[in-house]
Symmetry: C2
Subunit: 414 residues, 2 copies
């Protein structure tokens, strides 16, 4: 009698983006011929740049030739790529050993799978709002209770509210100091969905908490490429002692448009410890997990990653990042001209807007879709604190972004 993992039934509604797709499909089939503008999902739209295309082509060509063909590689990633990633950190004055770098098919997989190496009884803390993957994967693993319809929260999970009052930056004082303290702390900076970036002082406070309580910080740095302000940390390892208490997730997706190529990495420092894990143990455990559950990222994608980290590749990704950041500026300005209050969008590709008249997230989603024909992401989809907010993504063709903003300007009734 095979029985199912009952935790799946705790998951609410369905994942945010399928629900958005459902509503958009319903709208388009009821309004044939109406042009839809998508500022919803954080999906890249611009073609890959020449250097990575060259790398990917070389990757394919190598597989066509018996002299350069490769099959299974190391599950942890090609040594050349692990070295290049370590070198990239070194360029930011962060010392990472290549054996601490684990290449993967993307940051989503890693932030989802990392919880496998921790006990089910750890208490998890997330920002609210947050990328749903942090929450849902821990629900499935059994680290939460049921979803409480009254609070819109899972019981047993610590939510760190990120709102106007704290500038959408989590406050370490929202973590319990005694009973019920946070064991695994997910932080995302620059933040998806709010676009807020944690400064040194804020990150230091979390590192201090983690060291004191032997907690582990799971730091999602996938959007660090969008930081303009040079005083803001791009890696948690810029903070003293962070290697003792933090893993870091990173990705080529938003740097180089690799969302469809699939390539990312995770740093598990040798110095990282937990209550019952001394130095080296967590690094070895993640190695053990990856060698058993994963067979390495695509060799083709890895050749693309090497190109992306080359000098020319870095210059070209800056061009791509600048393009999307100009979109962010256009969206921000357009919303502000409409009298809408916005946050983020200066060091991140997401604009977090406050709905006019405190309108409910899904209601405003429908209003935007019906009136301006613009697809956005309802803030409440990222957590209860997102209620009354909307996320707009700067990933889009310029003409689409401009047309969307024009449509909002002309048609949205507020």
């Amino acid at each position: 009698m095979a029985i199912i993992n009952p935790n799946y039934d705790k998951l609410v509604a369905g994942y945010l983006f399928p629900e958005i797709n459902r509503r958009v499909k319903a709208f388009t089939s009821a309004n044939e011929g109406v042009k839809i503008y998508r500022l919803g999902i954080g999906n890249t739209t611009e073609p890959l740049r020449p250097k990575v295309i060259q790398g990917l082509r070389e990757g394919v060509d190598k597989l066509a030739d018996v002299k350069t063909y490769t099959g299974y590689g190391d599950e942890q990633g090609d040594t050349r790529l692990r070295n290049a990633i370590a070198k990239h950190y070194a360029s930011g004055n962060v010392s990472i050993d290549p054996s601490e770098v684990f290449v993967s098919d993307g940051a989503k997989s890693d932030v989802a799978n990392i919880q496998s190496i921790f006990d089910v009884n750890n208490t998890v803390a997330v920002q609210d709002p947050a990328y749903p993957v942090y929450v849902d994967t821990n629900v499935i693993a059994g680290r939460t209770g049921h979803f409480d319809q009254k609070t819109n929260q899972y019981t047993g999970l610590i939510y760190m509210p990120c709102n106007e009052e704290n500038g959408f930056i989590p406050n370490v004082n929202d973590l319990p100091a005694g009973v019920g303290k946070a064991d695994l702390i997910y932080l995302c900076s620059p933040n998806n969905p709010t676009g807020a970036v944690m400064n040194r002082k804020s990150l230091e406070s979390f590192v201090g908490y983690a060291i004191e309580h032997k907690s582990v910080i799971l730091f999602d740095a996938a959007y660090n490429w969008y930081i303009n302000d040079s005083t803001l940390p791009k890696s948690i390892y810029e903070i003293e002692n962070a290697k003792k208490c933090a893993m870091e997730f990173n990705s080529f997706s938003k740097k180089d448009g690799f969302t469809g190529v699939r390539l990312g990495w995770t740093i598990v420092p040798k110095e990282l410890v937990a209550e019952d894990a001394t130095e080296g143990k967590l690094n070895a455990m993640w190695n053990g997990r990856q060698t058993r559950f994963f067979n390495g990222a695509s060799n083709i994608a890895q050749e693309g990653g090497l190109a992306a980290l080359s000098e020319q590749g870095m210059l070209e990704s800056n061009v791509l990042v600048d393009f999307y950041m100009e979109n962010a500026r256009i969206i921000r300005n357009g919303l502000r001209q409409k009298g809408i209050q916005t946050f983020g969008g200066d060091n991140a590709p997401y604009i977090w807007m406050k709905n006019p008249n405190g309108m409910d997230s899904w209601k405003f989603f429908d209003k935007m879709l019906n009136e301006a024909n613009v697809v956005t992401t309802p803030g409440v989809g990222f957590g209860p604190e997102g209620q009354g907010f909307t996320r707009l993504s700067a990933f889009g063709h310029r003409e689409n972004v401009e047309a969307a903003m024009e449509s909002i300007k002309q048609k949205l009734q507020i």
Copy 2:
């Protein structure tokens, strides 16, 4: 106080292949200049064929052009590829709906991750010997007790012995009928490591057991491309009622040399049920798992997969399969000339050989390495019933396979 998943400490020794690598490295550093022949790991060696290279190149080119660029696709796979896979099954008279096809980055990931949708209290049955991933991932999930050094088995796991007496085919009568019956049953046919293929009658007996006990069969068909004998099933769905009780895993790795490209798929039929899951539920759960833990296979790899399933692609993969099967014939004949008893290698790319004089698996591994300089895989690495056996892989360059067999012929002292 973050605490670790204690199940990781139950894992023995380290994964089989890292241990082999360790011994080979030790040998080569002690014997500089000695040529090593590798018949160990099942890693493809021949270049990709023209049609898939064309597909992969088109995949890269599409990403270079704003008109054809794609980012995140459906986590379940590109609709065109899901359709092509369903069509492939139809060509074998098996009816699969595209919504039952989940494209992934490879069969290893899927056979490892599938257990996530089942409760931790299910009893797991594996063939012995078996691909270590089935066992290790369930150890990590907590579905076993500790490893018993006396029996060389994990407690709480059902091992179905596959040996000379039963032709290396698992016997359903080795599964308990009452208390402690098997809930999740891993079957691999053609088998890795023994090369044995289950016939219709044998598969029917397992389907019968699963239907009777509401068990779920996890059927690994990654090597079905190597079946020559047309009476042997290539898919478990050729068996009546299998859609009610079985998932199937498949891969482009050994069909097209995609080991480094990373592409596979899993079939979760809508009809599939479990004790507490009615029709459609398990399909929806795997969909839920994949949308939260995975972001789709590489768009480039998927273009390659489409090419691989085209008419021309199928013809070209037959050439590749035939090449490796000729290697298998050479290995089998070479070993037999040496008076060694072999199994498999006729409908599978693996030859399972009985060590001379009942020699211990690791001892014979060292003997082969030291005397003939050939790397093999010790049978015991796949489970206790593998003790006294050795796996040889037919994946290799022809000249390497021939030289290895010549070396065995001349230097192996038996």
